[in-house]
């Protein structure tokens, strides 16, 4: 193989990749935050003793667990506008897809954390005379959070990688920008190697931060 590597044209357009890199981070953070909100709403519904609340949440979650992520992107971008008769910006459609997906998974993460708390903890708190709200706030949730942290982080990493699907909606994320650079330079090897490394740096940095957060949140164990 006598391919001569040349990163020159890629480096010359590095500003395009930098924009994509920042957009990837932006869409990931926004989707994680919205996903947490969706997840909290879903888990409250899911754990409710009222069937008319728990069932829709269960169906929603199952729907997302059993359909490919890219279908959600297409649905929000191409299908939802038909229903609403307004077209959605790629960014908005991608955020909707990512945050509902991650919300469905976060709901399961939250639920797993809460139901994993031993019955004795609920009883110990109840026996002191705590209301349900107080025992959740003071006893169950603080302990559940430390157990939720590892699966929550894992799920957020999945989301971070899934953001690349936003490129299919022509959102200017890192992958989409790479496609643009490639179209201008015809240097796929250099371009896609570069962005693979950029994703790697992003995820490794994020995992270091996550490890710090995890250590703080699980300190008592």
């Amino acid at each position: 193989m006598d391919y001569s590597w040349d990163f020159g044209p890629v480096i010359a357009r590095f500003d395009m990749l930098a924009i994509g890199f920042l957009n990837t981070i932006k869409i990931a953070i926004v989707s994680i935050l919205l996903g947490v909100v969706v997840g909290l709403v879903l888990v409250l519904m899911r754990l409710s003793p009222r069937k008319w609340l728990s069932w829709p949440a269960a169906i929603f979650i199952e729907f997302y667990r059993n359909t490919p992520p890219i279908v959600h992107f297409f649905w929000f971008f191409y299908a939802l506008p038909v229903l609403l008769s307004v077209s959605l910006d790629p960014y908005v459609a991608a955020v909707l897809a990512l945050s509902t997906q991650s919300g469905a998974f976060y709901a399961e993460v939250f639920r797993g954390g809460i139901v994993s708390i031993e019955r004795g903890q609920w009883e110990g708190a109840r026996a002191l005379g705590m209301t349900h709200a107080a025992l959740m706030r003071r006893i169950i949730v603080p302990q559940a959070i430390s157990r939720m942290v590892p699966p929550f982080i894992e799920r957020s990493f999945e989301l971070l990688k899934t953001t690349a699907l936003a490129s299919t909606l022509a959102y200017a994320d890192l992958l989409y920008q790479a496609m643009m650079v490639n179209a201008e330079t015809f240097r796929p090897l250099e371009v896609y190697t570069t962005i693979a490394l950029m994703y790697l740096v992003l995820l490794v940095t994020a995992s270091q931060l996550a490890r710090l957060a995890e250590a703080r949140l699980t300190a008592y164990q």
Partner: protein
Amino acid sequence: MQKPILEIKGLHKRFGDHHVLRGIDFSVAAGERIAIIGGSGSGKSTFLRCMNFMETLSEGEIWLDGKRIGTERNGQVTYPERQLCAVRERVGMVFQQFNLFPHMTVLQNVMEGLVTVKGMAREQAREIALQELDKVGLSEKVDAWPGRLSGGQQQRVAIARALSMKPEILLFDEPTSSLDPELVGEVLRVINHLAEEGRTMLLVTHELGFAYHFATKVIFLADGVFHEVGTPDEVLKNPRQARTQEFLRRFGEFAF
């Protein structure tokens, strides 16, 4: 006879098809110390747990200070959370598995009910918690995490936590059953000390020797009913019922 603090009328408890408690009438007066004994599966823990509504009643009534717990509407009895919380504040419980909160220090465990349930200021709660911990001999462990303590120490923290709420009745659900034998004594000593203070207590236990010295009344529960009730001498030394005699024989020799 003193007016009862807590009264139970016609208590039944079913878990699905399993009829655990089959019609129990019972009352506790101030200063009484009642030991509840019986084989495993006899319903003794369930009975105790009905008293602070850790279990819901299938049938029956619970009266506290002459007032019935629960709200009756159209023949249906509901138990509003506020009422149950009020009962649990007055009827404390100590569990077999301690059930300390692992994310709080020993001191925080004991302060928790005072701050969260009674709405007490932290400094005041801290003072009370320190006193209660001193009483159970754990002044040196106030800043420890429960997970670092021995079972006996954890159970003493749990007792201090229950005491901090100043309950009128204390329920002990097999408080020494999950302890290593050499740790049983330190917990029983604390319970004994509470007996000397004249507290009203109910104890589900397998420690028959302890029950004999501790109790003013012993109840032998079998098949979901009170099979025999009397003084410790009556029930533990001279049982009249064949079933009680057989139960005690199976326990073999125990020192009174």
